[in-house]
């Protein structure tokens, strides 16, 4: 039964830059923290899934954690790696194939924008050679169109970034901990119109692990937060996605739209019930668009929502309370699980300086990756 699986342990290696520490070492660190938090030993875990994009093979972390013979599936699914690993572990638990699972995501990227190679994405090398193979261009062109269609202002893009850095300042594990005003964000260098430097996240380093358990193992936990659903989708024909030399004239819903709808349906919980949400904010525009794609608001409603402060920690719908990708950076394999980590902390009431006030019963996470994958999860106490 899917309502039977809970997150019972959380571990995180601080995000940022950590010279001399390998991605796999960060993964093992996060895993040990998660096991400690769950009050269990590595030998108690009977399934593991995890991954990174550039940090190595997740299963080799057993060399540091212990060689217990458990099945360990490696996932490499772009920015949705953490969500994919979570989906895999959730399926193993709900099917009865495992009782206690560890899910780990980690990464370590050099500074600067990513430089994916066209050949690895099924595109001719000309696409990269002529300067079209940049994720930042896609994000800019998607929000450019969206702003024109739905009346989103540059001020709103800047407010999303300012909120992220304000929240990051309250998060000891965040990378960017200096608050930046809307004015400072709007004064930063233009990178890809309409997106400026401080509206983008940066590739970084970090690791997150969560322990999942089902049945009695979940019930007996100190503070179980139930994983009510997790849904994973890839793009359909017509969805506007990164690294697309062409797109059809007729549009289709995004993978996020479909994954979110499936996650809410499976959970029997609606977007209107969500008390705290984490959505993929690789740049300011992504947070704006994902808010509507997930169903947390209507298209165009973000302008009023964000301008009024509703998505701040003290607002009606707190979003990316840990500072999101903007303040934490983007270690590709770790970001999806960072979202889960934050939502569980918030629902437990253990989020410290950034704890959302008031009701905290339902949380939601959404991670998105190239070339059009999305994983969404609904969690509740």
């Amino acid at each position: 039964v899917s309502g039977d699986v809970a997150v019972v342990g959380l571990g995180i290696h601080p995000f940022g830059r950590h010279e001399g520490v390998s991605a796999l070492q960060m993964a093992a660190f996060a895993a040990r923290r998660a096991l400690d938090d769950a009050g269990i030993r590595w030998e108690d875990v009977d399934f593991a899934a995890g991954g990174s994009d550039a940090g190595g093979n997740a299963d080799t972390s057993v060399a540091q954690l212990g060689l217990t013979g458990l099945p360990f599936i490696n996932v490499r699914n772009g920015c949705a790696t953490g969500g994919s690993a979570l989906t895999t572990a959730h399926a193993m638990l709900t099917s009865g194939a495992a009782e206690v699972a560890l899910v780990v995501g980690f990464d370590k990227h050099p500074p600067g924008a990513f430089n994916p190679l066209p050949e690895e994405w099924g595109i001719g090398s000309w696409y990269g050679e002529t300067g079209l193979m940049l994720t930042t261009q896609f994000f800019a062109m998607k929000i450019q169109r969206y702003m024109a269609e739905h009346g989103i202002s540059e001020s709103t893009l800047a407010k999303v970034a300012a909120k992220a850095f304000a929240n990051g300042a309250r998060n000891p594990n965040a990378w960017r901990r200096r608050p930046l005003s809307e004015h400072e964000v709007l004064g930063s260098k233009m990178l890809n119109h309409p997106l400026r430097q401080y509206m983008f996240c940066s590739p970084g380093e970090g690791a997150v692990a969560v322990v999942l358990a089902r049945g009695d193992r979940a019930k007996r936990a100190r503070a179980p937060v139930y994983l009510r659903s997790v849904a994973f989708r890839t793009r359909r024909f017509g969805s506007f996605e990164v690294f697309s030399p062409s797109i059809p004239v007729d549009s289709a819903p995004s993978p996020t739209t479909e994954a979110a709808a499936a996650a809410f349906e499976q959970a029997g919980i609606g977007p209107e019930d969500v008390d705290v949400a984490q959505v993929q904010d690789t740049e300011s525009g992504a947070e704006v668009m994902h808010l509507a794609e997930t169903g947390l608001c209507r298209h165009g409603e973000q302008e009023a929502l964000i301008q009024s402060g509703a998505t701040e920690i003290s607002g009606r719908l707190p979003v990316n309370t840990d500072g999101g990708c903007l303040a934490n950076g983007e270690p590709i394999g770790a970001s999806g699980l960072r979202q889960v980590h934050e939502v569980v902390l918030q629902l437990r009431g253990e989020a410290g300086d950034r704890q959302v006030p008031g009701r905290r019963r339902v949380g939601f996470t959404q991670v998105y990756g190239a070339p059009g994958v999305s994983a969404c999860a609904v969690l509740s106490v």
């Binding site: 430089n115 001719g124 940049l134 697309s244």
Partner: protein, 146 residues
């Protein structure tokens, strides 16, 4: 058509026609009519493997755009780091009834770009490789004024 070509493209199978009237080489699905660029042997909409080459229309409207203000990493970009970098425009141009094609734009001034403006296919020097060209779109007004 290909034998009339008076330019060297950045890659084969992308551009046909002449420098004065270049055409993009796409494909159309014989089963459902879906148009793709570049050409591909199977249809992303209906999964049919029955597609045919199709030269795409040269005119359309700007669907979205951005300006690339920083030098892309090389590889994959053809120009090594450290060389002079000039910002360039990138956009998707909707070819009516066919497909939206991503391309460089001849314009890099944001004040001169707006969604919906008419655009036309042209050729520009390919980055880094003297003598080869790639495809780009230019505002139709630009042509009228030149």
């Amino acid at each position: 058509m290909l034998d009339q070509r008076d330019f060297t493209p950045v890659a084969e199978g992308l551009i046909a026609g002449t420098a004065a009237e270049p055409r993009l080489i796409g494909s159309a699905c014989r089963a459902c009519g879906t148009v793709t660029f570049p050409r591909q042997a199977s249809c992303p909409r209906c999964t049919s493997e029955n597609t045919e080459e199709r030269l795409l229309g040269r005119r359309g409207t700007l669907w979205t755009w951005t300006i690339q203000c920083f030098p892309p990493k090389s590889p994959p970009y053809a120009v090594p780091p450290g060389e002079d970098f000039e910002p360039y425009g990138v956009g998707y141009v909707e070819l009516p009834g066919e497909v939206r094609v991503e391309a460089r734009l001849t314009v890099s001034d944001p004040e001169r770009l707006r969604i919906g403006m008419p655009m036309e296919l042209t050729l520009v020097a390919a980055p880094g490789d003297a003598g080869t060209v790639t495809f780009a779109f230019r505002p139709v007004e630009e042509e009228a004024g030149s």
